[in-house]
């Protein structure tokens, strides 16, 4: 296992392996999304309080979970890159950032649209949406910092520090936002909490979560291969791999 890991940090091997993995992530993801969406839109019974509007959670919650998960993956990859000096890990971190940022945007927009029929307003400063917004700022800051360095190595290491500082702060931010919000609502129920979930409502959600995770893996494969190529400017292994891809 360790040997495979070590092989994986060699760029040509990684490039090929990741390319082979991609369809195995992508097509199951599509399939699961179709199944999950159908389950969520058609099969699940309507919610007692929120009626059919609750079906939005089947896209909102996976987006939110992925937006956070991708940030953690990004920070862990960056930490691995900085501690063990593995270039591939830095490439993974760079590849994650735009994907995670888009998940955050999707969460904010669906959260806002979900809010309109539920609260009557397009935006509310509730804990979940507010921390998603701050998470978006963290992603954008990460990408901006990367972009401000011309040298890839320096960009990798500087943004790694930012990612680690960021991920450490995420629980602090979440806690502070929940506290801040609770001062107004008293015993608060997060307004976008999934309604009391029973079995027939739960399985489409889990399916969609898994689908989103596989989807992330697939898109990460493409972006990671792009990053590997970008970083291996003049390596000799390129000619073979590119000719065949």
């Amino acid at each position: 296992m360790w040997l495979w890991f070590h092989k994986l940090s060699s760029p040509p091997y990684a490039y090929r392996t990741v390319g082979l993995m991609r369809p195995w992530l992508f097509w199951p993801a599509i399939l699961l999304m179709i199944v999950g969406a159908f389950g969520g839109l058609v099969l699940a019974p309507e919610d007692y309080q929120q009626k059919d509007a609750f079906r939005i959670i089947y896209v909102h919650v996976p987006s939110a979970s992925l937006s956070l998960m991708v940030y953690v993956v990004m920070a862990v990859a960056a930490a691995v890159g900085v501690i063990w000096r593995i270039k591939l890990a830095h490439a993974v971190a760079a590849a994650c950032a735009p994907i995670g940022a888009w998940f955050t945007v999707a969460t904010l927009v669906t959260g806002s649209i979900y809010g309109k029929p539920m609260w009557g307003t397009w935006w509310e400063w509730d804990p979940r949406l507010t921390s998603e917004l701050i998470l978006l700022f963290l992603y954008l800051g990460y990408m901006a910092l990367r972009a401000s360095f011309d040298d890839t190595q320096r960009a990798d290491r500087a943004s790694a520090i930012l990612a680690i500082v960021g991920v450490v702060n995420v629980p602090i931010v979440k806690y502070s936002v929940v506290w801040w919000n609770s001062l107004h609502q008293g015993p608060s129920i997060s307004k976008l909490a999934a309604p009391s979930i029973e079995g027939s409502m739960l399985w489409p959600l889990l399916t969609m979560m898994l689908a989103f995770i596989l989807y992330f893996g697939a898109v990460l494969c493409d972006r990671l291969r792009g990053e590997i190529l970008r970083r291996e400017r003049n390596a000799s292994w390129l000619s073979e791999s590119i000719a065949s891809s």
Partner: protein, 233 residues
């Protein structure tokens, strides 16, 4: 025979030297020290002009206004933290010196706080009164700002170390640092607000202490790592 090996000063002495040097430089350029303070006062003045001269309206937003102004002033002040030393090559010497860079940078940040954060803490009650804040709130205001500006200085120093070699990096610095500072803002501003309503402030105040201790213990390592990257050519 006497050995003529020169003894290197101990770490404690070095840190004292660092702080003394920065204080001396600040005394020579005291106008630079004053500028963030003036910014703080000017920004808080904007709010009555923009909103209303009525004190009871201003009183409601005073904690938030003071805190946001303090955050922005501390951001501006960060320009003078590392940039001069990086530009004249001093920082490179520090990185190469073999002394623990994290402690050197922490000492610099602490001095910087004395020069930029502490004046804010002292000025805030005056400005707060102008916004209708009652005197009874002054102790809480001073305590939260003292603790909070400390955390702001450390987070700001990490951002400053990351962006010191980026051309025109001040806006980038703000974008990186402000999201990280939001918890400090939340606890600090709301503590003052709670105090104004006569409610207990132990909760957020303790959280501010915890945050400061947390940032002081881990922040310097991030600062040092960031500085090494910025300074290497």
């Amino acid at each position: 025979m006497q050995s003529s090996v020169p003894t290197t000063p101990g770490l404690g002495n070095i840190l004292m030297l660092v702080m003394a040097r920065d204080l001396r430089l600040a005394v020579r350029h005291w106008d630079q020290v004053l500028q963030p303070l003036m910014f703080f006062v000017i920004v808080t003045t904007l709010f009555p002009l923009a909103i209303s001269p009525a004190l009871d309206e201003l009183r409601r937003i005073a904690p938030g206004v003071l805190w946001v102004a303090a955050m922005l002033a501390s951001l501006l002040a960060l320009e003078s933290l590392f940039r001069p030393d990086v530009e004249d090559g001093t920082m490179e010497q520090w990185v190469l010196s073999g002394q623990p860079l994290s402690l050197l940078l922490l000492a610099k940040t602490a001095t910087h706080w004395l020069l930029t954060g502490l004046p804010l803490v002292l000025m805030a009650p005056i400005v707060g009164t102008a916004l209708g804040m009652p005197q009874s709130v002054w102790p809480v205001l001073a305590a939260t700002l003292a603790l909070g500006t400390g955390s702001l200085s450390i987070l700001g120093a990490i951002g400053a170390a990351l962006t010191v070699s980026v051309r025109r990096g001040s806006v980038l610095l703000a974008l990186l640092v402000l999201p990280l500072e939001m918890p400090v803002l939340i606890f600090g501003a709301r503590a003052v607000d709670l105090a104004m309503h006569g409610e207990p402030v132990a909760g957020p105040l303790n959280l501010l202490v915890a945050l400061l201790l947390f940032f002081v213990s881990l922040g310097p390592f991030a600062m040092a790592a960031a500085m090494r990257i910025s300074v290497e050519s």
